[in-house]
Amino acid sequence: MNVIAVLGRTGLDLLASLGRASQFLGATLVATVAGLMPGGGRFSVGLGLLVRQLYVVGVLSLAIIVVSGLFIGMVLGLQGYTILSDYGSESAIGQMISLTLLRELGPVVTALLFAGRAGSALTAEIGLMKATEQLSSMEMMGVDPLRRVIAPRLWAGFFSMPLLALIFSVVGIWGGMLVSVEWLGVFEGSFWGNMQSSVEFGSDVMNGVIKSIVFGLVCTWIAVYQGYDCVPTSAGISSATTKTVVYASLAVLGLDFILTAVMFGDF
């Protein structure tokens, strides 16, 4: 009976948490819209806050994205060549690398890295602002923290993720080309030619972009919500940061399956 009670309690807590998170997202969207309406504050101030967060969340994530993209592309080149050469199909390696990166690895790995680097930083920053009463003091000054603190971070993640995923894929393709063409001797013309003939802008590139837009929103939503809702103690912030990485990673992987089934499934 105890096990059933615990399961029931856990389920109800999860539902309540999901409800609070949805309410929080709704309130942030309303705060964003209110900020864009006449009398909602100066547009230049809001834009300035967004640009600053785009730098913090996006530009500062570039290093890890570029390096990871390069190595993953190089590994794909190496593994792909080893497998394809057994069948004499090494000329298809450009096609394999580009489709793997654009459809799957680009959006998914970028989102996982983003959750680990930017997501955890967002949660810790907002959680610390809460613990040190900075959010409360903002409220008491008549400034809505949802509009001032949360919205710029949420939209920065939303806009950054697809760009980071595209950069990841481009660098990955270049890394794969370095290994397969420059090192292992695959003919450059077939590498690029096969890629050009098989990759479609709509179904491959754009579907990858759509995936990363969804991942961007979900990862950043989880990160800012965990920070805003955390218990304002050092243990609470630490737990919230861990939850951000775990929940965002699981959400990305789960959503990837659903999106892949919808976009590429041929049932």
Partner: protein, 271 residues
């Protein structure tokens, strides 16, 4: 509610995690004076300030600020009302990524369209009022605890509020810093004509500057009046709090099981 009353709490009930913090409390805070709300730790003094500021909602009762019932205000009206309030948090709550100057300028930049040179003048005047004009370019991490609180005070008066609330302004201060805060609260109140509400358990400092004080315990007001009236209050509980006696109506020992029973001692052991 008369015009001389700035804030009125009427039968306010508030609970947290199933525990009743405020149990039908009623209180009137006069306009233009310093009111001290005192009481033992954990009796809901800070909760009272958060209720007045609309950061918490009571289960029951009315909280009137300038005649407006705070829990019933729409978000927009609440934020507008808060622009006429200042609050000094116990930790200072300065924005750690902004300099002292930018912290004080923050409410001015958000709520006014003042040109940059005027913002600079106002910020420096506010910092001068708390004696920290020379620290304007420092970052919050470079300030001592006392300086942090003074900068936070400068920020909370940046918009010239009508009401200022101090949450434990003397806690953790050395004697000099405490003296500075006492002087600032008194001087700001008289020079700006503010209504000041301070929440504290530092009895001598609070009574030295307030015009009116009340003592909160068990979710209710157990004594109120001028400092002189409180010192002569007939309640033993009020006297125990004011004089800091370790035992009295509030016992030294928390309620517990019989000590011998809990320690497993028998009658034979005690012989």
């Amino acid at each position: 509610m008369t015009d001389s009353i700035h804030i009125a709490l009427q039968d306010v009930i508030f609970s947290r995690s199933g525990r009743r913090i405020l149990d039908g409390i009623s209180l009137e805070i006069p306009r233009g004076g310093v009111t001290a709300i005192m009481g033992p730790s954990g009796t809901g003094k800070t909760t009272l300030l958060k209720l007045i500021g609309g950061q918490l909602r009571p289960e029951q009762g009315r909280i009137l600020v300038d005649g407006q019932n705070v829990p019933e205000l729409r978000k927009k009206d609440l934020y507008r009302m808060r622009q006429r309030m200042g609050m000094l948090f116990q930790s200072g709550a300065l924005f750690t990524d902004l300099s002292v100057f930018e912290n004080v300028a923050f409410p001015l930049r958000v709520h006014t369209a003042l040109p940059e040179d005027m913002i600079r003048d106002v910020v420096l005047m506010k910092l001068e009022a708390v004696g920290l004009r020379g620290a304007s370019q420092l970052m919050p991490a470079e300030l001592s605890g006392g300086m942090t609180r003074r900068v936070a005070l400068a920020r909370s008066i940046a918009l010239d509020p009508e009401l200022i609330m101090y949450d434990e302004p003397f806690a953790g201060q050395d004697p000099i810093a405490m003296g500075v805060v006492v002087k600032l609260i008194r001087d700001l109140n008289s020079s700006m004509g503010l209504t000041s509400v301070l929440v504290s358990h530092d009895v001598p400092e609070s009574l030295s500057i307030c015009h009116f004080a009340c003592i909160v315990a068990d979710g209710k007001v157990i004594g109120q009046g001028t400092p002189e009236e409180l010192r002569n209050h007939s309640s033993e509980r009020v006297q125990q709090f004011l004089t800091g006696q370790p035992d009295g109506p509030v016992p030294f020992h928390d309620p517990a099981r019989d000590a011998a029973e809990e320690l497993g001692l028998t009658a034979e052991d005690s012989r």
